[in-house]
């Protein structure tokens, strides 16, 4: 599903990633941990084609990120769902419209949109608040809308950059539970987090980064073996 082979990312200020190699298999759940600036976001941004490697090879869902053409970027992103710490919802649209927006702007058939939107809003537990605007929702609910928007395109991979970073403990538990359910249904999840309590709750594979290098990977071998056949 995802493969990084000897990947580096250099900036004028210094290297953000140094010789990172990792494999993530289909359906796997992977935590990326580490301090701010350790390189978590750089890895995630490469996964959804926002950054390109300075050296090495990144493959995601069959696309080589280093050789991505402008026309390939939208195609890659339609196979991924991405959620952020700050939700990135459109404030002037309801929950329902925010989710529908993802379908509309990717050219989905109009007559199928309402049903698909309701299905994912139900899945994230927000069917009753479909007509609420983001500012009328709690942080946890807003993140659920963002997750619904990511899910509505049926992604093979869900990329989550600190999805619980802005949430209180209760909302964090709910959102994390939702992400686990999504993974249980077969979607590969890569989640960057600071929250070591979350990481300790589960037995999911954990990759720890420090100064742009992988210093710990709880499932490197299993991941590598599984990744061989699904790329």
């Amino acid at each position: 599903m995802i493969r990084f082979a000897h990947v580096s990312k250099d900036y004028p200020k210094g290297a953000a990633l140094k010789n990172v190699s990792l494999h993530v298999a289909k359906g796997e759940f992977v935590f990326l941990t580490g301090h701010s600036g350790a390189g978590k976001s750089t890895i995630l941004k490469m996964m959804y084609g926002e950054l390109r490697p300075s050296a090495g090879d990144v493959r995601v869902s069959g696309y080589s990120i280093g050789d991505l053409s402008a026309g390939d970027v939208p195609k890659l992103r339609r196979r991924l769902g991405v959620v952020f710490q700050d939700f990135r919802l459109l404030e002037d649209r309801t929950a329902e419209e925010n989710v529908a927006f993802a379908l509309e702007v990717t050219g989905a058939r109009r007559d199928g949109i309402p049903a698909r939107v309701m299905r994912v809003l139900t899945q994230v537990g927000l069917a009753a608040k479909a007509h609420a605007y983001p500012q009328e929702l709690s942080g946890g609910e807003q993140q659920r809308v963002a997750i619904a928007r990511a899910l509505v395109l049926d992604p093979a991979i869900l990329i989550a950059d600190e999805p619980t970073g802005n949430l209180d403990e209760r909302a964090t538990r709910g959102v994390f539970q939702l992400i686990r359910e999504i993974n249980a249904a077969g979607t590969c999840v890569v989640m960057a987090t600071h929250d070591l309590d979350l990481v300790k709750q589960t037995t999911y594979r954990t990759i720890e980064l420090r100064e742009g290098q992988i210093v710990y990977d709880s499932g490197a071998e299993a991941g590598a073996a599984a990744a061989e056949d699904d790329l």
């Binding site: 195609k75 990135r88 702007v105």
Partner: protein, 289 residues
Amino acid sequence: MRLLLREAFAAFRRAPLLSALSITTIGFSLYAVGLFALVAVNMKEALRLVEQRVEVVAYLLHGTPPESIALASQDIAAFPEVERVTFVSEDEALKRARAELVEFRDAYRDLAVNPLPASLEISLKDGYRDADHTAAVAARLKGYGFIDDVRYGREWIEKLDRLRNIAGLVGLMIGLAFAAVAVVIIGVTIRLTVLQRAREIQVMRLVGATHGFIRGPFLLEGAIKGLLGGLVAIALSYGTYTLLRGQIQLATSDIVFLRSSQVALGVCFGVAIGFLGSLMSVERHLRNV
């Protein structure tokens, strides 16, 4: 296509104040250009009215046979610069002098012999009423044996020439400056509206909308704003024209408004700036999220 239209118009509904503000800004920027155009067009019109009075008068020797005059008139009328040749006989000249020079009416009445010569009044075509062409025509007229003297107000025409050149140059420079200011102001306004929707562009990119799809509504919105701004500018300019008409007179006639082709050009200018301004702003956002 339907989504494109819906999204473009939804932008006006979602941010009515900003939309109204940007249309007004575009409108007033183009209004400044329109006002300048109005001044330029009327200055040109005034010059044209003055130019129409450019005339070469050839005084004929007393006793020139009418056949020679008729023949020469035809000849002169065939000059490329010449619009019309009018023969003024000695009697007519006297009649005119009596009518126009009231102070000398008595003197002219008692004359035993008419002292005034016959003449050919030659008016020139548009585009030939400058010092060089007028002098050339005058020189050719002097070649006729029966033409005694040629007058055309050389100094006056040279002044007119200079005025025309200065007006043209200053007009061009001020016009370009006004247009440049309008482009900058409109560009900033459009960028502001795109900036306000940066989050939207970011989300569209994130979920995999193609660049073409992202651009579409913004370009349409920009073009519509340009169009509406252009119409506002035309309305304001016309209002100003209506107020001034009757207050300001050109040499002999009322001030004129822009021709419909010029109005259309102004509106197209608005649409083009709206479109290009949006294109440039959106491209910036497409390059870096």
